[in-house]
Amino acid sequence: MIKLSEKVVELKLPSEFGFEKVAMSSAAEVARKMGFSDDRIEDLKTAVSEACINAIEHGNKNNVNIKVIVLLRIKEDKLEITVKDQGKGISFKKNNHLLKLNKPNNLNETRRGWGMFLIKNLMDEVECEVDPKSGTSVKMIIHLVR
């Protein structure tokens, strides 16, 4: 197992669906080198995917010429992943477990908006900064449990 001091991996992705998989693979490889378990790596991949998709679609409006910035900060006991877009700010819908709907007939209204729900439930810590001028930044932290 390679011991890594704090280092940063930076990715600049075109805002086109599919490129989130580049971030997923990179984050997974870094997490693997750090010694994260397979199931936590799968959690990480899903969270990174969802953050990138939000940035691509809602932040950068699928404009392939605008980049999604992904930063992977490797620390002694945790991995911090920041996903930034350059949009005007994302308003995150608050979704919840489907059974907690007050009116089951509104099931179809919950179709979208699961990205942030998954991020918050899969990562150890999540911080969002929304700036109408510079875009939205989602920071996700996953702690290494030895």
């Binding site: 086109e16 599919g18 799968e42 899903t46 489907l98 907690k100 099931l107």
Partner: protein
Amino acid sequence: MNSSISIDIHEKDNYGILNLKGELTLFAENAVNEAIAEFIDDSKNIIMNFAEVNYINSAGIAILISVITELRKKGGTLKFVGLTDHYKKIFNMVGLTQFGNIYNSIEEAIAG
């Protein structure tokens, strides 16, 4: 970089079986809807097999919610097979498993 999905469909013991292969994302919506439409007026009982699906994102979950919504209108049922442990967790987390049970195989899903 559009992702792709292919869906093989057949009928068995009054179940419509959808064997999905590839990725369940936004781009899979038409294919899934067309596959569901093959059965929804007849058998109404659907088994979705994810054994060859390597990526499901929130847009894919949205598609499944739409499928559940349509099946509920027709009184149909939905069962899931072939999910990895990770996606079983995701389905539970979202609440999909309250509307469709997870089985280890198509045979178990038909028997269950």
